[in-house]
């Protein structure tokens, strides 16, 4: 029964996965929006090869085309696409489709085939075991991959091309070009090129180095060997030589060299297991199938002729549309028939397959695109200030230009007689003289060249380096290492480190984020009886058991299951009582109705499950005597209390997020058909037979109306009870299928499962035929334990002024109970619960809550903030509010006209818990907050359903948890455990923010003070763009003389120790309030800059006015003074002097002077003007006295301002620093007594370990 095998076990699974697939394929924005209402939407629309596909044609068009509805004739006229043609081909040739839809074969099939031939590139035909023929028509790419960007030849042009994509470099280049114009040549040619060359060379070296690594790995990859069928047998062949159409054989634990369609496997049923960890990060095994048609005739056994017709290469790893033509029959191929490059074959001795996509056309390669980049908040602010600096630059250049124009105008008639100007040369021709206006314009342009570093281009490079350094330290923090999962922090985004210090809202997933997502079977409610007693001995999962079966489970599966003795006993007895019937059926469902794959590893049984819940259920069933031994596509083998029973699988309706249930139809050993169902209570309770409908349900003796009603009631009560305990519940039901009902369903199911289009929809329709009037068996409760340290982390985060919102798919009761256990909710909070099914009700509830609690409705973020702080200051509001809202209400509350109400209410509440939310709603809530406040949002989650939220938030954090790595792949930072978030934000986030904020201000200052100093000089050179500083000193200033200390300080400076920061969470508010970088600070810095530049210029000016000082000597003094001043300015602000800081700052000054003297000693043509100048200057006392005076006078106002600020308006950070200084004992005492936190980390407890968090559980 081939359709059983090819029933696309995971066809409905596509739903949750598509999200992931699309994420890989697209940018972030599309991840959640791509409609996946039907199969066709799985195509990656962004892929260029599907350009034409966009014009297509909704799924229904396709469907109608294939299934021969009148619309099918459109295919001749409509922009035909690869896929539609492919379908036409399939439908015209494929016997199944043919039979069912005769109209399509005569209509669409005829014209479509020639069309396919004329435009051959739209689809590809791969002749099995005939690479020559396969490749003669089309240019398929070979299997050689090149992840490296450059070759030796292309390196220079390509790298330069890429580098000049950055605006900064264009700016540099324009300046250099301007400087080449003779009238404007402010600098020597070489000197002016230096900054650009410097960054280009540095970047090129970096890129080249990275590429070299890729070259090496490519070479290694390309030279791996696989067994390829050639010359009548399988011979090893290098990967790079493999071509499409060739047949390859892969053995267990080998990697797949290219995308291959399975022809046969070592398994008689054509099953193969692959691990896709390299592709999607999921660790569980996936099943792939060879078509029955080909399974028996791969080249090893018999010559094979046939072809695979498939769609052009695309990057969607969850979709594949093709058909296999073999022996004049056609068999459709789906994603379950293809194994992608990068997978590893597991638990299968060998497979044979034909190569369909090779090399760069493989889906894995098509997907290897980089991560998206975000801009940090600080950088956005910084760009605004950079605009101001550009404005200043423009002002001073215009001032200079106008000054020059006026000067020339005033002296126009005399200019030719000036000894220092002379506008005519000896031949009486004008020499570079363009009249007042022209001279003004040229002067203006010259000033732009001269003052170019006012725009701190080097800052962008420094920031990248600093962030790199910060990441280095974050990643290496031993206290954020999670030993059980062996995971460190991962910095996936490199440019938003400082955002971690400004987070105001955290949106957290629950399962797997706050909890461990390690499911343990907790209790069972069967037939209205609650079995939740615990056999203590069984928890350990070791040998102390009466039943041999359980010993095996305990020892081999290594999972402790809480066993109820009564239930055990009941299972041992004969199946006579209705109670026992319930129990046995219940266990059968647990053991059979799942997608868990048992594998045997060196004799012991292991379960490969995609869902931890299912795994827990299978473990539980096994512990009670129903052990899942084997599962193929067609049968399930159970060990039922020591007796092996085989159940034939007739059909599976897999779990998806819409149906929220899974059902399986099995043919029992006694040849009856049974439907086994498990699912979310909402999804299953609705389709449970009501007592009045019992008659037609046909579920035999169990369906006694009275009993069933009692069970229904009791189960419902148990469900409520379980969820208040924070347990995850599932409802278990079943149904005996009568022959007519079975036949009807079976017919429909067969058709649906072989359908090429809309399979999901059709399957769902089929399911709805039988998924009704079920007999309720009971419910399961699974415990998902809180992660270590979650309550402490949450209370610390709350104390730091961060609002934590929990967004969960769980039921309200579960969510509230988890809220209490993780210290999110406290008993003294007033809960505002919004449950509304209609919009009106929702609005009404929101409004009344707002009225009742006197929340000011306002759009003004600042006022709202004040309210928040008032709440924090525990004075004004009597009670803290906690908002609990469910998904249904959110549907209405997130609509544009209501969202303001929701926002006002949510912002006024300390805690918001959203339950029963869909993944898209999670993202919706995050984007609501992003739109309405300027506050930083952070989303943290671990599963595929959190991906959209993670990508929407300003900062996305993924936990590497049990549910695969989609969240991690989408995130900016990945953590091992939730509790590390505290350290990440409070310590590293704070440091990052402080460091970068200071660095930006300092860099603005550093460049501006230099430019302003140069500007004052041009006022004394008749506005000619002359600098006193030597060209090379000008160029080296920001690159060599002053660059290293700022980077070192940006990486290493520490305002407070991590103990203080963890001990006083409110210190985090500094970042939330933008205290370290804001426009006030910017303007204060600019004022300081102005003063310092005046001092820098005028102290030497007054000292040397009317003396023999020459221009270069004066320049030396200025260069030396500015370098020392700027470095000392930094030194004055450094808070944490390690030897590295000392080396950087003092070293920088020493290196600068060394450079001065080296430049001084060079006698080459370009340097001769400067020869021995520094030497002469440095030998005079005036030189040194000037530098000393400049430094003291320049820094004095800043020094005094600092002292006064600290005296009268000390910042929190300053007080905390004083506390640190006072003594450690005082801090810890203070932390205990006065900080507002109920739970505080002991500062003496060094280092902060996760032990302390255990006490809470």
């Amino acid at each position: 029964m081939f359709f059983g095998r090819n029933s696309f076990l995971s066809s409905q699974e596509e739903q949750p996965r598509t999200e992931n697939g699309e994420r890989i394929g697209h940018g972030p924005s599309r991840s959640s929006t791509g409609s996946r209402s039907d199969g066709s939407a799985h195509l990656d629309v962004s892929d260029p090869s599907f350009e034409s596909f966009r014009e297509l044609v909704s799924g229904s068009d396709l469907q109608s085309e294939v299934f021969g509805a009148p619309g099918s004739m459109q295919s001749e006229n409509a922009p035909a696409t690869a896929r539609s043609r492919l379908f036409s081909v399939i439908s015209s040739k494929g016997p199944q489709a043919h039979d069912r839809h005769p109209s399509s074969s005569s209509g669409a099939g005829g014209p479509a085939l020639p069309a396919a031939r004329t435009d051959a590139r739209k689809e590809r035909v791969v002749y099995v075991d005939n690479p020559g023929r396969t490749n003669e028509n089309f240019e398929f790419s070979g299997n050689k991959v090149r992840t490296s960007k450059y070759t030796l030849i292309s390196f220079l042009p390509r790298n330069l091309f890429e580098q000049f994509h950055r605006v900064a470099y264009i700016y540099f280049l324009l300046i250099v070009i301007l400087n080449q114009i003779p009238q404007l040549a402010v600098f020597g040619r070489l000197a002016s090129l230096f900054p650009l060359l410097f960054v280009l060379v540095v970047t090129a070296i970096k890129d080249g180095y990275e590429d070299w690594g890729r070259h090496r790995s490519d070479r290694e990859e390309n030279n791996r060997l696989s067994w390829v069928f050639q010359n009548g047998r399988f011979e090893p062949k290098r990967w790079k030589k493999i071509e499409a159409g060739e047949v390859v054989k892969i053995f267990q634990d080998e990697s797949i060299p290219c995308d291959i369609v399975l022809l046969g496997t070592s398994d008689a049923n054509g099953v193969a297991y692959v691990q896709t960890i390299n592709l999607d990060g999921e660790t569980n095994l996936k099943t792939r199938y060879a078509r029955q048609e080909s399974a028996s005739k791969h080249p090893g056994l018999a010559p094979i002729t046939g072809k695979v017709v498939c769609e052009p290469p695309n990057r969607n790893i969850y979709d594949f549309v093709a058909y296999l033509e073999i022996d004049d029959t056609q068999a459709p191929l789906g994603p379950n028939n293809i194994i992608l490059r990068g997978c590893v074959l597991k638990n299968t001795a060998w497979i044979v397959g034909v190569v369909v996509y090779a090399g760069k056309e493989t889906k894995a390669m098509l997907n290897s695109s980089g991560a998206q980049s975000k801009r940090s908040r600080l950088e956005q602010h910084m760009n605004k200030e950079t605009l101001w600096l550009s404005f200043f630059l423009l002002i001073i250049c215009i001032a200079g230009g106008v000054g020059m124009g006026k000067w020339v105008h005033d002296h126009d008639s005399d200019l030719n007689n000036f000894p220092y100007y002379k506008k005519r040369d000896t031949a009486d021709k004008k020499f570079m003289y363009y009249g007042p206006f022209g001279e003004g314009v040229f002067a203006f342009l010259s000033f732009i060249i001269m003052f170019q570093i006012m725009i701190p281009i080097s800052l962008y490079i420094s920031m990248e380096l600093v962030r790199l350094g910060q990441s280095y330290f974050m990643v290496r923090d031993v206290e954020m290492f999670h030993a059980p999962s062996n995971s460190r922090l991962q910095c996936r985004a490199l440019n938003i480190n400082e955002d971690l210090g400004q987070v105001k809202y955290i949106f957290s997933d629950k399962t797997g984020t706050l909890t461990e997502n390690k499911m343990e079977f907790h209790s069972a409610s069967i037939g209205g009886v609650d079995y939740s007693n615990v056999l203590a001995a069984k928890i350990s999962g070791t040998s102390d058991s009466s039943d041999g079966m359980q010993v095996e489970v305990g020892s081999h599966l290594k999972s402790g299951v809480r066993l109820d003795p009564n239930l055990l006993e009941l299972l041992q007895t004969e199946v006579t009582s209705s109670e026992a019937t319930f129990v046995h059926r219940y266990m059968l469902v647990l053991a059979a109705c799942n997608t868990v794959v048992p594998t045997r590893h060196s004799g012991s049984l292991q379960y490969q499950a995609e869902s931890p819940d299912e795994q827990a259920l299978v473990f539980a069933a096994s512990a009670y005597g129903y052990t899942l031994l084997d599962r193929t596509t067609s049968t399930i083998v159970l060990d039922v209390l020591g007796e092996q029973k085989s159940y034939k699988i007739v059909g599976i309706h897999e779990f998806d997020s819409v149906r929220k249930r899974m059902s399986i139809v099995v043919e029992c050993p006694d040849n009856t058909y049974k439907l086994l169902v498990k699912g979310a209570d909402t999804a299953v309770m609705d389709i449970i037979a009501r007592p009045s409908e019992q008659v037609e349900s046909g579920s035999g003796s169990l369906a006694d109306g009275h009993l069933q009603a009692g069970v229904l009631f009791a189960t419902q009560r148990h469900l409520d009870f379980y969820s208040t305990q924070g347990l995850r519940t599932l409802v278990v039901a079943f149904k005996d299928l009568g022959q007519p009902e079975f036949e009807e369903w079976h017919e429909k199911y067969k058709r649906a499962s072989t359908a090429l289009v809309d399979r999901v929809k059709l399957l769902r329709e089929a399911a709805s035929l039988i998924e009704r009037n079920l007999a309720l068996l009971g419910a399961t409760a699974i415990e998902d334990r809180l992660q270590d340290g979650v309550p402490e982390t949450i209370s610390s985060l709350r104390n730091s002024g961060i609002k934590v919102w929990v967004l969960t798919g769980d039921k309200q009761e579960t969510a509230i109970s988890i809220g209490f256990s993780c210290a999110l909710l406290t008993p003294d909070m007033e809960k505002v619960i919004v449950n509304a099914n209609t919009k009106e009700l929702c609005v009404e509830k929101l409004k009344s809550a707002i009225r009742e609690h006197g929340i000011t409705e306002t759009k003004d973020v600042h006022v709202v903030e004040k309210n928040l702080n008032a709440v924090k200051g525990d004075s004004t509001r009597k009670k803290q509010l906690a908002l609990i809202i469910d998904g249904n209400s959110l549907v209405h509350a997130l609509s544009p006209d209501v969202e303001e109400l929701l926002f006002d209410l949510a912002v006024a509440c300390r805690i918001v818990i959203c339950c029963r939310v869909a993944p898209l709603q999670k993202a919706g809530i995050v984007s609501l907050m992003k739109r309405r406040t300027k506050d930083m949002t952070l989303a943290i989650g671990d599963g595929a359903n959190d991906v959209s939220m993670i990508q929407t938030a300003d900062v996305g954090i993924g936990l590497s948890g049990q549910e695969g790595r989609q969240a991690v792949m989408a995130s900016d930072f990945a953590l091992g455990q939730f509790r590390f978030l505290k350290r990440l934000l409070l310590v590293h986030g704070h440091w990052n923010y402080q460091r970068l904020a200071y660095m930006v201000l300092y860099n603005f200052y550093r460049n501006a003070v230099f430019v302003m100093m140069l500007f004052w000089y041009i006022l004394h050179t008749a506005f000619s763009a002359q600098t006193a500083l030597f060209d090379w000193n000008l160029m080296f200033y920001s690159l060599i003389y002053t660059s290293v200390p700022t980077i070192v300080v940006g990486i290493l400076d520490k305002d407070l120790s991590h103990k203080t920061l963890l001990g006083l969470p409110p210190l985090y508010g500094v970042g939330q309030r933008n205290e370290s970088y804001n426009s006030v600070l910017f303007w204060a810095t600019m004022l300081d800059t102005l003063w310092q530049s005046l001092v820098l210029f005028y102290v030497p000016f007054f000292t040397f006015q009317g003396t023999t000082i020459d221009i270069w000597g004066m320049g030396c003094l200025w260069a030396a003074a500015v370098v020392v001043l700027v470095n000392l300015h930094l030194a004055m602000d450094v808070l944490h002097w390690t030897w590295i800081t000392h080396a950087a700052i003092w070293g920088s000054i020493v290196v600068s002077f060394a450079c001065f003297f080296v430049l001084d000693a060079l006698t080459d043509k370009g340097f001769i003007a400067h020869y021995r100048v520094m030497f002469h200057m440095a030998s005079t006392a005036v030189f040194w006295l000037n530098i000393l005076l400049v430094i003291v006078v320049a820094l004095l106002p800043r020094f005094c301002a600092k002292v006064l600020m600290q005296k009268f308006w000390p910042s929190d950070l300053h007080i905390a620093r004083e506390l640190e200084l006072k003594n450690r004992a005082a801090i810890s005492e203070f932390v205990k007594s006065s900080a507002p936190s109920p739970r505080m980390v002991e500062l003496d407890d060094v280092p902060y370990s996760d032990k302390e968090s255990k006490e809470d559980e």
Partner: protein, 358 residues
């Protein structure tokens, strides 16, 4: 199970652990000094600065005051009385036929120990103008006629004359200052002025060639023969190599500011207080075009250079200011002491203060 945090790097596990290696560096726990501006430090720093600056200021002021300086401005006083307009002055100065010597007397106010430096000072003369600074060829000054044509491009507009390169080319050389001074005592005994060693030795040795002789230099032309437009400043001795033309070397070190002095020579005898010195100035350098002043300066030198009170006064002022600030801060701290680490100042402990400062 997760007892990882406290342990250090000890122990290599069987499977490769990704646990970061512990070191003080990677954990950002390097020993460090954490300076904090406590009132004590602030006052100490300010006092220290004051204590250093005031003596320096006093010494600098003394040094400056010890310098004896005679300044004589002569660009107008050396003109005949009837020449008042700018045009007339220019005409006068460009007229080669008139005798332009100008006798003056200077009185020595205090004893001037040798060496007494003779400077000329020009005002409003933008030697730092970009056109001017660039208008020279350092290569030619060193190599002479062998310099390639392109290396002379920077000399424009005075690169060549009559299609032959000028040596030394450029505006700077061309505009060489050419007033001269003859000093004599009251008894008409001439006071010798040493014109050797007035330039930097490094310039003489490395920047001006000892085998480079002036040629095709416009200033060397007979004024009567050519247009006066080609004549700038001083003529050069064609038989003297550039490395010995110290006036030129001094002149070609462009001044940093529009008002500047250049060393003209050294008088190597003491000048007694009250002594009257007569100077015969040949006033031929044209500064009338731009209204520049010309001054003759005789000055001794101290370790600080010439006479300039600025440094001394600045040092004294800053020193006094620092002491004053130290006292102010002391009083502030004394009147309203804020205990170190007073937690009531923390923003979340302050009543009514929501945002702290920002």
């Amino acid at each position: 199970m997760s007892n990882d945090a406290a342990s250090s790097s000890a122990g290599a596990s069987a499977k490769p652990s990704r646990k970061p290696k512990y070191s003080k560096f990677t954990q950002q726990e390097l020993p460090a000094c954490k300076p904090l501006l406590t009132p004590g430090w602030v006052i100490a720093i300010l006092m220290l600065v004051g204590a250093i600056f005031i003596p320096i200021g006093a010494i600098a002021l003394l040094a400056s005051n010890s310098v004896v300086e005679i300044v004589e401005q002569y660009e107008t006083s050396c003109l005949p009385a009837n020449i008042t307009t700018k045009e007339a002055r220019i005409r006068y100065i460009q007229d080669d036929t008139t005798e332009k010597s100008c006798p003056m007397t200077l009185t020595v106010p205090k004893k001037m120990n040798n060496p007494v430096y003779v400077y000329y000072q020009l005002d409003h003369y933008y030697q730092n103008h970009r056109r001017y600074v660039k208008s020279r060829s350092d290569k030619q000054l060193l190599d002479g006629a062998s310099t390639s044509n392109s290396d002379l491009d920077s000399c424009k507009p005075l690169k060549q004359f009559n299609n032959t390169p000028i040596i030394p080319c450029g505006l700077i050389a061309w505009s060489l200052f050419n007033d001269t001074y003859l000093f004599s005592r009251q008894n008409s005994a001439p006071i010798p002025v040493n014109k050797r060693g007035i330039s930097w030795k490094s310039d003489r040795d490395h920047k001006f060639g000892s085998t480079v002789f002036p040629s095709n230099f416009p200033n060397n032309l007979n004024r009567n023969e050519s247009s006066s437009a080609f004549i700038g400043g001083a003529a050069l001795n064609v038989s003297q190599p550039l490395s010995e033309a110290e006036d030129l070397i001094v002149w070609m070190r462009s001044a940093a500011l529009p008002t500047f002095r250049k060393l003209w020579g050294k008088i190597e005898t003491d000048l007694q207080a009250g002594e009257i010195i007569s100077v015969n100035i040949t006033n031929v350098y044209n500064t009338y075009e731009f209204g520049g002043k010309k001054k003759l300066v005789l000055s001794t030198a101290s370790w600080l250079g010439g006479k300039n009170n600025f440094l001394g006064i600045a040092y004294l002022t800053v020193g006094v200011l620092c002491i004053f600030l130290a006292i102010v801060f002391f009083l502030i701290h004394y009147k309203t002491p804020r205990p170190l680490g007073d937690t009531s100042y923390l923003s979340w402990n302050r009543k009514g203060n929501v945002n702290g400062l920002s």
